[in-house]
């Protein structure tokens, strides 16, 4: 059954079974979208945000005008709510728990301890740089590279044309490169000052 028909069924009858059908259908996608906004290791929070999204959807369903598809409308609601939550709670990679940090920097089979250490530091460095990206770019990078969402799906979830998604991903990578260069320059400058002293 089409989404719009289920929405109409729910609005006409107030039947919770209709609403449960929508939750069932979109729970995974909304959850992944929330995760991409909140970042890695925020699953518990992402689930809470997800619940809030569906509760808000339940209350505000009457506001759905049908100008866009239901799916687009829901994704927009989900994205905005997750972003609001993130801004209110100021999620940062530096506030990650020790276990999460360990999971992030866990390495496969690297025999050389020095190489392993460098890999761990590099990963933390990239993770911190990612957190400095603008919100939309960061969400896109997480969706594409962490959650392995194809560009077509991202375009649908973020309500953007595919070409725009590709161009934003390109800009995100450029932005990330600049952030990493600046960070590295800062580290090198500090190291240079340390040597002079």
């Amino acid at each position: 059954m089409e989404d719009e028909k289920i929405v109409a069924w729910f609005l006409d009858t107030g039947d919770q079974a209709a609403f449960a059908l929508l939750v069932e259908r979109y729970q995974d996608k909304v959850f992944r979208l929330a995760c991409s906004v909140l970042g890695p290791f925020s699953e518990v929070n992402a689930e809470d945000v997800c619940q809030e999204i569906f509760i808000k959807l339940y209350k505000k369903m009457r506001l759905f005008s049908g100008k866009s598809s239901f799916r687009t409308w829901l994704y927009r609601l989900a994205y905005n709510m997750a972003l609001d939550w993130r801004r209110r709670n100021k999620v940062r990679i530096s506030e990650m728990s020790a276990a999460d940090r360990e999971a992030l920097i866990s390495e496969g089979n690297v025999d050389d301890p020095l190489e392993s250490l460098l890999n761990r530091e590099n990963k933390l460095f990239v993770a911190r740089a990612l957190e400095k990206l603008p919100e939309l770019y960061r969400t896109m990078v997480y969706l594409h590279y962490w959650l392995e969402t194809p560009v077509e799906e991202m375009a649908e979830e973020l309500n953007l044309p595919e070409g725009t998604v590709k161009s934003y991903l390109f800009r995100a990578r450029q932005y990330l490169r600049k952030i990493m260069e600046l960070e590295l320059a800062g580290v090198q400058r500090m190291a240079g000052e340390g040597e002079r002293r």
């Binding site: 919770q16 609403f19 449960a20 939750v23 069932e24 729970q27 995974d28 959850f31 992944r32 995760c35 890695p40 290791f41 699953e43 992402a46 689930e47 997800c50 619940q51 569906f54 509760i55 339940y58 999971a103 992030l104 920097i105 866990s106 390495e107 590099n122 990963k123 990239v126 993770a127 990612l130 990078v141 997480y142 590279y145 962490w146 959650l147 392995e148 390109f170 990578r173 990330l176 490169r177």
Partner: protein
């Protein structure tokens, strides 16, 4: 340019691929529906709650003002105090509702 793109992509993939993909715990739909049922059954909706809080706060402020009005002699100092306190009263509501939330009184 192509090489640069590949480098950043490799870095991103290497970093993010080690992070496990999140999965929603089973029974999510039931949990959402349960919360909806609970919220529908709740005796006081959040709008009413805010309205009651605002009423209680401003009634308290009114009573306090009347007490001050009858208890203190009207002079310049009184007016200065009123001018200083008035903005605090408006900001005070935010603090009042936070205290209520923190203590879970309402």
């Amino acid at each position: 340019m192509k090489e640069e793109r590949d480098n950043i992509e490799v870095i991103l993939k290497n970093t993010l691929s080690t992070i496990p993909a999140p999965e929603l715990k089973a029974g999510f739909v039931e949990r959402v529906m349960e919360r909806i049922r609970k919220e529908e059954k709740a005796p006081v909706s959040s709008k009413w709650r805010v309205l009651i809080q605002v009423t209680v706060y401003w009634v308290a402020v009114l009573i306090l003002s009347l007490c001050l009005l009858f208890g203190i002699e009207m002079n310049e100092l009184y007016l200065i105090i009123v001018f200083l306190i008035t903005p605090c009263l408006f900001l005070g509501y935010g603090f009042f509702s936070r205290v209520l939330k923190f203590r879970r009184l309402f």
